[in-house]
């Protein structure tokens, strides 16, 4: 049953309400966020709030060139180097590699410098003034090399994919309308509130503990073990309160933790590395820029009969997560539409720019923007409503995707589309804007437009990813009768710490306040996989529920009474009981990573958005007035947090669509400060109405499919379609900036 935002709906089935009078929102809205009061009152401890007596401050000396040969690192002899420590690549005990998918990214550059922000030397000092002086006395000698900056000109391919189904030539032969398009999207910065931050503390056993702002404790753990030659115990990773991630703290914390740990080993003290915003924007990962080309064929009867798609993603200097980002982008490129003949070819290439990485949506927003632009342009060419066209083409249960996956269940494309269109009165407003457009004179001051988009988003890791991850989640009834959730999954503002106690309370039949959450410390919790890919509620949530069911059965069998009444006494008698739940492949889900055939995802989430904009015809400025977002998340666990995800994701998509843009010069980001990299403010935010749709996934015990990334896929194409509806121009490149809109309108007038 769908849960609406505007109409206060009764609690959805499966929505867990607090049994105790916890202060919180009205019934059905979910309990208060667990960590909310501490954050609101300023008592939550973020990395920079943590005090380690005697800690030194660390700094990174980076390249100032996009590509160069590193000739020498010289320390000015006039400076007293005994007061500080300096670390270069030679000081790394193990491999000089940041552990990731490929072994290509060095912790510190040795020979070739491959991007503008590449770390070369690390320095730590007891205070910031001395640190600044020391940094100023390090001389890096280099010899410039010619950089590769255009991804289309790059011949270094990190990874490529090809998906083919049906007979493309036959499809185009049948087509009576062929639409081609090339779409470009640029970098996007995550701009979490808290910058990347890490403190490394030497351990008595020769290892190191790091405390930091991060999404994936075990990624960092593996990186430390490998390059510092540590055992599982010697490497300890503790997540501090984390002020947002959006993917920007998925992989980057590994290199930062290595830097801090190397300095801590060198000086034998805790070392703090807290990036300021400038360093954070200049050096950390962004959303991959992409060039996406489409050729789509439509038959005389209006069926989509052929799609030929080519994707080039700019990975930046190192591979990082590009193979999986590209994979997701490739698998979603066809959009949520049935088509018998499809070819999708994609590659991620190297350029001499800082490496790109994970960002909410993970490759899908890039290709789905392009896919939706195609659909809207085809609708225009056919003279058909973009809503009607989607109604004909969208996936329904039983349809087959380009990888041969049969969509057996949990297919809500139609429902999200219809609900968004209905709530936004899409056709009525579209008729009105068409009338306005027809009557508008050349001197009109502004124009109103409406646009629609539809998307799908694979739930959980791609392909056999979840099988390889082999996640473990645990629930423990402690000897003193407490209930503790043990997972490595992190809270970064999205609600992990609130929904997991909810799920456990529901599964065990106990009040939510009786459920504790163990700290995200690799010394205490198992590896439940990274907190990415909107997988936590679905995959880890499922494991925790299974663990609870087992725990409940064990205790109830021993006690003969209901769990809630007997577990404390049970702990007194039997001591601690801990259940470790291991991931088991979803039944019937099978994917071949080499041929790219099969079930790319166990299930998909579905999203639709309708945006309305006003465009200032003098200046090309766009005001996004409203977005109606309908998102199918399988099962709503916490309505307020779910709506928060949709609202935040929608606003991030509005920024992506209209103003967010990294400008580069010679491979360096020009706008690497908050004064120049702009995201929407509260005044720029549209009115967002959220409709939560529930098409449960049977493979997860609670039916949830994840939500975080869905809204990011639809916002930009909906806004750009609305700009077209207002102005008559198509903006093929994101962001649809006033500069691009005005230029396109000029061309339209001249034609």
């Amino acid at each position: 049953m769908p849960v609406g935002r505007t109409a206060p709906a009764p609690p959805a089935p499966g929505t867990v309400l607090p049994d105790t009078p916890t202060p919180g929102p009205a019934p059905g809205r979910g309990p208060l966020r667990r960590e909310g009061p501490a954050k609101l009152t300023g008592t939550a401890l973020y990395t920079d709030d943590l005090v380690f007596p005697g800690a030194w401050h660390g700094a990174t000396i980076r390249s100032t060139e996009a590509r160069a040969r590193l000739l020498a690192i010289e320390l000015d002899p006039a400076f007293d180097w005994s007061k500080v420590v300096v670390v270069t690549a030679g000081d790394i005990p193990g491999p000089n590699i940041v552990n990731s998918i490929q072994d290509d990214q060095p912790i510190l550059a040795t020979d070739e410098i491959r991007h503008h922000a590449e770390p070369i030397v690390l320095v730590a000092a007891p205070d910031r003034a001395l640190l600044r002086q020391a940094v100023g006395q390090v001389i890096v000698r280099t010899e410039p090399l010619a950089p590769v900056l255009d991804p289309l000109a790059s011949d270094r391919v990190f990874v490529h994919y090809e998906i083919e189904t049906g007979d493309l030539a036959a499809g185009f032969a049948e087509a009576t309308l062929v639409i081609e398009g090339e779409y470009r999207v640029g970098h996007q910065e995550q701009l979490y509130i808290e910058n990347n931050a890490m403190i490394a503390v030497p351990r008595a056993d020769g290892g190191v503990a790091v405390h930091g702002s991060l999404q994936c404790p075990y990624y960092v753990h593996n990186a430390l073990k490998r390059s510092l030659l540590l055992t599982d115990e010697q490497a300890q990773v503790v997540q501090a309160e984390t002020g947002g991630g959006f993917g920007g703290k998925e992989e980057y914390p590994s290199i930062l933790a290595l830097h801090a740990a190397l300095l801590a080993r060198a000086c034998g003290r805790p070392v703090r590395m807290i990036y300021d915003r400038h360093e954070d924007i200049a050096a950390t990962t962004k959303r991959h820029p992409a060039v996406v080309r489409y050729r789509s064929g439509v038959a005389a009867d209006g069926r989509l009969v052929a799609q030929d798609i080519e994707i080039v993603m700019d990975a930046g200097a190192y591979c990082t997560l590009s193979p999986v980002v590209l994979s997701r982008g490739t698998l979603h490129a066809g959009g949520p539409y049935a088509c018998p003949n499809v070819r999708i070819r994609s590659r991620a290439v190297a350029t001499n720019t800082p490496p790109n990485g994970a960002f909410r949506g993970f490759g899908a927003p890039q290709t789905e923007f392009a896919a939706e632009m195609q659909v809207n342009r085809i609708a225009e060419a056919l003279g058909e409503s973009p809503l009607d066209l989607r109604r004909r083409w969208l996936y329904r249960p039983g349809d087959t995707t380009p990888t041969g996956q049969v969509l057996r269940e949990s297919v809500a494309a139609e429902e999200v589309l219809e609900r968004a269109a209905e709530a936004a009165e899409f056709e009525r407003v579209r008729a009105r804007t068409a009338g306005d457009r027809a009557q508008r004179g050349p001197d009109a001051r502004s124009a109103h437009g409406i646009g629609l988009a539809l998307a799908w988003h694979g739930a959980g890791f791609t392909g056999s990813g979840e099988v390889h991850l082999a996640s473990v989640a645990s629930v423990e009834l402690t000897a003193d009768g407490r209930l503790v959730i043990l997972i490595g999954s992190t809270e970064m503002g999205q609600g992990t710490k609130t929904i997991f106690p909810q799920l456990v309370a529901d599964a065990l039949g106990v009040p939510m306040d009786d459920v504790e959450f163990a700290p995200q410390d690799t010394a205490l919790v198992p590896d439940s996989g990274p907190t990415v890919a909107s997988r936590t509620a679905m995959v880890v949530g499922g494991l925790v529920i299974e663990a609870c069911r087992r725990l409940r059965a064990v205790v109830e069998e021993r006690s003969g009474g209901p769990f809630a009444d007997t577990y404390r006494a049970d702990a007194g008698t039997h001591g601690a009981t801990r259940i470790d739940q291991h991931f088991r492949p979803y039944p019937g889900v099978d994917f071949d990573d080499t041929t790219y055939r099969g079930d790319a995802y166990p299930a998909f989430g579905w999203a639709s958005a309708v945006a309305e904009v006003d465009v200032d015809l003098d200046t090309g400025e766009v005001a996004v007035r409203s977005v109606v977002a309908a998102d199918d998340v399988g099962r709503v666990i916490h309505p307020v947090l779910a709506e928060g995800q949709v609202e935040g994701g929608t606003l991030q998509a509005v920024g992506y669509a209209t103003i967010e843009e990294i400008k580069l010069h010679d491979g360096r980001y020009l706008n690497d400060r908050l004064a120049t990299y702009l995201i929407p403010t509260a005044l720029d935010a549209p009115r967002i109405s959220t409709i939560l749709v529930e098409a449960p996934f049977s493979g997860a015990p609670h039916g949830a499919k994840g939500i975080g990334e869905l809204p990011m896929d639809v916002g930009a194409p909906a806004v750009v379609a609305a700009i077209h509806d207002a102005t008559g121009v198509w903006i093929h490149d994101l962001p649809a900036s006033p500069e691009r809109i005005l230029a396109a309108m000029d061309t339209l007038v001249r034609r």
Partner: protein, 284 residues
């Protein structure tokens, strides 16, 4: 961030004396100075001179036929001022576009003037209204017309020992003043183009006299486009006037491509906004 030593003189006379003795960077609201210090934009000053305690530099008052604003007047102060709202609403409009509430509470008009950014939002209004910048030092006071105050990229006519003490804006009968700011977003945005336009006309059917067109973000400093002004002088706000003025202003400016926008956009938007303002004045 390097934090230079700071002195806070209690009176203007003390401030003048200190400035006569050695070189200080004045700091008023600090909303530019602190960004420059923390971002390490340019070499840090050796010493800061805090102006915040100098109440002599505060206050908004009517002095004969002029509006006089102390250098420490904040944007919130301008927005709250009934005198400004009644007599120079364009100044209030401009103040309302600067940063957002926190910045408006702290940032000063004097700071905007002395900072001399080509994108300073208040500066085109001061150009369009023939404002005078009154500066002072131990040697006394002098008045500098706005049109000769900004001399180059972030350069002013201030001597090293001088500070801005007040701004004098003549109030002219039958004068209309218009302001438009084009930024990337609706708050906290540095301008892509700023337009301040004024003219004198007793009725909407009278020809325009004393036309002033001040522009920001289209040159290395805030400028007046005197050729376009001369064209508009004596004309009625007709469609022909608007079309011709738009073309002329586009030809008169040489904006650049930078991180915020492009030369083409700036030129086109300046022309279109001017066209729109003339059209609105002519009510056609």
């Amino acid at each position: 961030m390097i934090e230079p030593p700071l002195v806070s003189p209690p009176t203007l006379a003390d401030a003048y004396r200190l400035l006569a003795e050695s070189v200080y960077r004045p700091i008023a609201g600090g909303t530019d100075v602190l960004v420059q210090l923390s971002g390490q934009l340019g070499p840090p000053p050796d010493r800061l001179l805090d102006l915040w305690r100098l109440d002599e530099l505060r206050g908004i008052e009517l002095d004969g036929d002029a509006l006089v604003l102390g250098a420490l007047t904040t944007y919130s102060g301008i927005r709250r001022s009934a005198v400004c709202r009644d007599l120079l609403p364009a100044l209030v409009e401009a103040a309302a576009t600067v940063g957002a509430a926190q910045i408006q509470n702290r940032a000063t008009l004097g700071g905007n003037i002395a900072n001399a950014s080509p994108a300073g939002d208040m500066l085109p209004v001061l150009l369009a209204t023939d404002a005078t910048i009154v500066v002072g030092s131990i040697r006394g006071e002098r008045s500098i017309p706005a049109r000769s105050f900004w001399t180059g990229y972030r350069q002013t006519a201030l001597r090293p020992d001088e500070i801005v003490i007040r701004i004098r804006i003549p109030l002219v009968a039958d004068r209309q003043v218009r302001f438009r700011k084009i930024g990337t977003r609706r708050a906290q945005a540095i301008s892509k183009v700023v337009v301040g336009l004024s003219w004198v006309a007793p009725t909407s059917g009278s020809p325009w006299r004393t036309v002033r067109l001040g522009l920001g973000s289209v040159a290395e400093r805030p400028i007046r486009v005197t050729a376009t002004e001369a064209f508009l002088e004596g004309r009625l706000p007709t469609p022909d006037t608007a079309a011709e003025a738009a073309q002329r202003v586009a030809a008169e400016i040489q904006p650049i491509d930078d991180v915020r926008s492009t030369a083409d956009y700036r030129r086109a938007v300046t022309a279109r906004v001017l066209h729109r303002l003339i059209r609105e004045a002519g009510s056609w």
